[in-house]
Amino acid sequence: MKNKNFADKTFFSITRIASIFCLVLIILLFLMLIKESLLAFNKFGFKFFISKVWDPVFEEYGALPFIYGTVVSSILAIIISFPLSLGIALFLSEFAGSKLKEFLSVIISLLAGIPSVIYGLWGIFVLAPILRGYVEPFLQKIFGFLPIFSGEPYGLDMLAAGIILSIMITPTISSISKDVFEAVPRSLREAALSLGATKWEMIKISVLKPAKQGIIGAVILGLGRAVGETMAVTMVIGNVHEISLSLFHPSATLASVIANEFAEATTDLYMSSLFTIGLTLFVVTIMLNIIAKFLVYSTTRKYKKLL
């Protein structure tokens, strides 16, 4: 009897150590990033985040073009992916039969499991030539007066990055939205239908509205993935350290500049500047994740109580 108790306790402490390890890892990572960024931060201060110059030869570093590139490419991805994901999630939770639903869910999780370098290769060899040859000249012909569609279409640009990202975050947003929709109790739907609502009205009143917070959470989780995505973006974004309104202009993101320049960062200040970019990325993604988790949790919990 005593022995059994001992085994239980040991098992408990092993699992506890394992989970504490997770927390310790995040804290250590954070401290390491702060320590390594100090040199650059002391030298440039907050100017680091608003300066547009990134010049390894003259040792001047500013992160604004990368912050801009990250923000715009991620928002672009959300704009493209959001309606698509919402459609997928609604179809799965409200319309699809159980077999079709299972099948599609597997397909979507498969999409999420494709390594990002594969998306990158597809981006270079398939997407970029199509954008350069057909889509971008077409957009320019019709909407050319808008500054976001100006300039030479290269195919390797902000638009390509946004499209690749939107494909990569669609599984995240759609599967979480689907879970949120399914958390809304049947009784709400039945109530709407019994009051004479059409299917569309029912979805509007008893699915979308109650799940609003959860949907926002799903979008933010998708955003978190888009912000941190490295390989695929590096391969299609064109890697130019400039800020341009045009979506046809190549750009760079926080993650892509680290991936590109880390191996050859020869001076301490250069290295430290890259760490500062890493720290920025770390803080932004953690914040986004916390907000998203909170929103998703608050929706699902609200209806668990109802049930």
Partner: protein
């Protein structure tokens, strides 16, 4: 069948006996650095393993900057680089690190202009103009002047360059600094620079990929990538005013000029040399070794390998489009290798 089996068993046994593992320990020597000479180095380590079976080389092509950092940190037994160490880096190392030139290679300008049938001619002025963003169209008067009779399209030039730090970039920007004052003051030279124009591709293969897939683009890569990917590359006008297509002979010509009065530390740039047959965008690539080796056994093996690489090993250069070191330089390098203490 039985015969075959016996033969097989005997051969396995004899193989085992010939393995040094029984008599001697295999020594592992670690190195890291430049990607530019990687194809040649891996060939060397493969061939050298047949000559000295007691040593095994492990080389990670992480880039020149990485190689320098690792040798300073002493996590590797040798480093490799295409850009010489700065004074600051040498101070960090504390001890004397020798630069041993192993071979030289060329950086070529690759382009994708579907209309062009002839090999394009480019001068220093054109290359710096294009990469500074001042010459923006293929049918620019200045390009036309250097390519008389060639039908150049009225299309925008799309510039491709490296997005990651690289020894190839160092050699290319070293050349641009040498030939253009504007480049020198505006951009400078380094393994990564603040590019005025251009799409960034990661690695030689990234730049080759952009050029291959983008009509009317131009970029620079290490020569073997141009040949592997079947891309057209330009003739470049050298200091003597001759248009030279990059080749092993043209790189050798470039080294020979500089090898005549080589400084004792070999830290010399061979861009834009004098010779009539020399291709102007070339660079040495060096191995970095501590003058005082920590480990007697490893030091000895490393020195033996270095001696072999600069003598017998040189015959593998040409096949991979690197230029072998000229004889007088080999003599000089052998003297330097003798100075390594272990």
């Amino acid at each position: 069948m039985k015969k075959l089996l016996t033969k097989f068993l005997v051969s396995i046994l004899s193989l085992n006996l010939s393995l040094p593992a029984f008599s001697q320990k295999i020594i592992l020597i670690n190195g890291a650095g430049a990607t530019f000479p990687y194809p040649l180095y891996s060939k060397w380590f493969y061939e050298y393993a047949k000559i000295d079976k007691t040593v095994n080389f492990n080389y990670q092509s992480i880039g020149s900057g990485g190689g320098i950092r690792q040798i300073i940190a002493k996590t590797v037994d040798f480093g490799a680089t295409d850009a010489v160490m700065t004074k600051e880096q040498e101070k960090q190392a504390g001890e004397e690190i020798l630069h041993i030139p192993m071979t030289a290679g060329a950086v070529v300008l690759i382009y994708n202009v579907p209309e062009l049938k002839q090999q394009l001619n480019l001068s220093a002025e054109l290359i710096s103009g294009i990469f500074l963003g001042k010459i923006t169209r293929w049918n620019d008067k200045k390009i036309q002047q250097e390519n008389p009779g060639v039908n150049l399209p009225n299309k925008k030039i799309i510039v491709a360059r490296r997005s990651d730090g690289s020894g190839t970039t160092f050699i290319f920007t070293d050349y641009l600094c040498e030939v253009s004052n504007e480049w020198k003051s505006k951009v400078g030279k380094g393994t990564s620079v603040n590019w005025p124009v251009g799409l960034g591709g990661k690695g030689n293969e990234g730049v080759a990929g952009i050029v291959k897939n983008t009509p009317y683009s131009i970029g620079y890569v290490e020569i073997s990538y141009a040949i592997q990917n079947n891309l057209s590359y330009a003739k470049v006008k050298n200091k003597a005013g001759k248009y030279i297509s990059p080749s092993v002979e043209a790189i050798t010509a470039a080294i020979e000029e500089k090898a005549k009065n080589m400084p004792a530390d070999y830290k010399v740039s061979i861009v834009n040399p004098d010779g009539e047959k020399a291709y102007p965008i070339c660079g040495f690539t060096w191995l970095l070794v501590y003058k005082k080796q920590q480990d007697k056994q490893k030091g000895e093996k490393l020195v033996n390998f270095l001696k072999w690489a600069v003598t017998d090993g040189q015959k593998y250069c040409a096949d991979l489009i690197y230029a072998p070191l000229p004889d007088n330089l080999v003599k000089m390098v052998l003297e330097t290798i003798k100075k390594i203490e272990y």
